[in-house]
Symmetry: C2
Subunit: 422 residues, 2 copies
């Protein structure tokens, strides 16, 4: 029934040509010699040349690449029913209940969409509907997604360009930005209140991924959230990266900080790669938005993606993956901090659970060239990893949550070798 | 490995309660007594009470609910690899080539996203990057999706509310709006050119679904598109509804009109229910956008959704579904027009292929109450259908493309009975 496909043995250079011919200007490829992947399992990616790579980059397949339970859930559901949510069907309601059970009151309602971008786009409008205001405070190198409205709150997508007029950006809570975080947020709020836009809310990724990873001390978000609420704004916790147990402390990154978001957004690992995302909030806030704007998401919460998401929750719970993130992440953090003591290239190691950032510096200044060199050298050692941060100098460690101590040791040993080289 | 789930025999009333408790204000359900679906196949939906419904509503599963080839493609790919497009893998490149082969020059590049909303959100920004302008012309009851930016070009999502300041809406090319369409578009362009926003583009669904379905005479779009290009704007063809063969004339709805879009967006049936969507345009236009804004879509073009989309193309081509849409749609149109002659409730039957609209009127005025009554009466006869149009008085006929003449006859016979009742 299936037509012959070009074999996986297509030369990589030919595949790059085919790619440029069809995807062209919007194509984004990793590495000078891009990776031609053909299959994956657990924490491993297999390439067309027969090599196997340890995946320290991909947080989306959080319960492991091609997780058998998720694969079975997708296959079974796709064969039975896949439709929009204007009819009733069981799996979406079961999933909604299981998901909401991970939150406390008043966060008891969910709206499903397909991507973290759609979730954040909706969250911004919920805040505007609730407050009647349009101004948002974000961090300097934030990334919250790719729609027009969300790109406005994502300064990292427009480096060197001026912010949209209704946006104020504060330094990330890293280095000098940490102690000043709340006062910077307060000043940004005051500035918005003086503008024509007013203050609708503060949106942050609670692990500050794109800013270069910021986690400690737990609780540092409290004063900024209090200032947000005092000013009548909403606090939007973007859990697309830290959510679903990655920080090792709880299902959601905001819990570590002891703060109460008004709106929580989630996506990436929610369906282990299937396009499902969500906005969790309270009934009055969702109602204020729904009363002003008709909203329906055709693929949002469809049976196949929710079946995958339900299997992800099962895996996280039954395999204790939050505890695993804490254990393996703690081990990794300790070993990386051990490296810090011997190698001048590492300025700081930050993070929680299995979301860690290694700050590369040279003479006290950010060293993105070190990050680039390390990423390429680790790739030669069959380890996949990326960088983040305002200066691109932070090694970003966020493997699938099924990462084990042995994998952590492989990473640290390889990093040690690579740093010894230069 | 799988936990016990609540059985499909959950009473519908209990399921509605569970739904309200979890999805609340943003939940949209069809019918006073909502349908509790448990499985589907081809053009049939099965409900928990054992009944089977003919699906005349759902255009997303266009190659049939639970199409075996699509199901197998999803299952096989999910078990092998599912990842983002920053690595190379074969299926996305094969799919991109197959998809682009359905277009002529200069439409030779594709950007993948997950939903029609994301595709249109990107299309608007491509037009703004290319023209430096921000104003768009749309139709009065248009629907192009649900992001903040796309809701602005979707007056049907905000009925009775003023348009966003950078948007001008013209009457749909239906009735009096047909002959005046190009001159209305020209006037709207001129008005935008006098504003601070300028004119970036015209965006229309080429079958005007939400406006109440407009297809004839083929070619009526030409003058409006010429006016758009004369004014330096882009023509965005929203093919989310008419695309992938639905009009029976070609893969894309714009082809019937002999016009050349600058940007084409697609979604819904692209993956038969899997969240995949796309923007097709030319390299210079995509480059103008990509140079101004970093864009990446995590789930866009992932292997599982593109494998599904490839199977959809195979099905459309090998089973001749474009020709089937023409044949069955033509038969249906003729039979519906036969009804028109006997029943005063039908004002007009419009459409092309398997996207038809039946206009209900009373004393020459739109009769949405007839549409509502017919929809509910057809549901009692185990036929699922919906309504559209500025006044909600247009019966919207857009079944899966595997719809056969016998199904069309069931629909018309039932409609005939229902209309005879009042």
């Amino acid at each position: 029934m299936t037509r012959p496909r070009p074999p996986n043995s297509t030369p990589t250079s030919r595949l790059v040509e085919r790619r440029q011919a069809t995807m062209g200007p919007t194509s984004v490829l990793f590495y000078e010699k891009p990776l031609h992947v053909v299959s994956a399992e657990g924490v491993w990616l297999q390439t067309a040349d027969g090599a196997r790579y340890l995946d320290v980059y991909n947080n989306v397949p959080s319960v492991g690449h091609c997780n058998p339970r998720v694969v079975k859930a997708i296959a079974d559901q796709a064969a039975q029913l896949n439709i929009h949510t204007r009819y009733l069907y069981d799996v979406v309601h079961t999933y909604a209940e299981r998901l909401l059970a991970t939150f406390g009151a008043p966060l008891d309602k969910v709206a499903f969409c397909c991507t973290g971008s759609e979730a954040n786009d909706l969250a911004l409008r919920i805040a505007t509907a609730a407050t009647g205001k349009r101004g948002f405070v974000v961090t300097e190198a934030a990334y919250h997604g790719n729609t027009a409205a969300v790109t406005d709150v994502s300064p990292s997508s427009r480096p060197g360009k001026p912010l949209a007029p209704h946006i104020r950006a504060v330094p990330a809570p890293i280095g000098a930005g940490l102690e000043a975080f709340a006062s910077n947020v307060e000043a940004a709020i005051a500035d918005l209140e003086r503008s024509e836009f007013g203050f609708a809310g503060l949106i942050v990724d609670t692990i500050f991924s794109s800013d270069g990873v910021a986690a400690d001390p737990a609780g540092f978000l409290k004063d900024a959230v209090e200032a947000t609420h005092r000013a009548g704004g909403l606090f939007i916790a973007d859990e697309v990266q830290p959510g679903f147990g990655r920080t090792g402390a709880a299902m959601w990154g905001f819990v570590r900080h002891g703060v109460a978001p008004d709106v929580v957004t989630m996506g990436k690992p929610m369906g282990n790669g299937m396009p499902i995302a969500g906005v969790v909030s309270s009934a009055p806030l969702l109602k204020a938005f729904a009363d002003s704007t008709g909203y329906f998401n055709t693929f949002g919460g469809n049976p196949v993606t929710t079946a995958a998401a339900l299997a992800v929750l099962d895996e996280i719970e039954e395999r204790g993956l939050v505890a695993n993130a804490a254990d393996v992440g703690g081990h990794l953090l300790a070993r990386l901090r051990g490296l810090t003591n011997r190698r001048g290239q590492i300025g700081e190691v930050r993070g929680a659970g299995l979301y860690l950032g290694v700050d590369f510096v040279r003479d006290g200044a950010p060293a993105p060239e070190t990050a680039t060199r390390v990423i390429n050298a680790l790739r030669e050692r069959k380890i996949l990893i990326g960088a983040a941060g305002l200066y691109g100098n932070v090694l970003k460690i966020r493997p699938p949550l099924v990462f084990e101590r042995a994998h952590a040791d492989m990473l640290v040993d390889a990093l040690d070798e690579v740093l010894a080289e230069g």
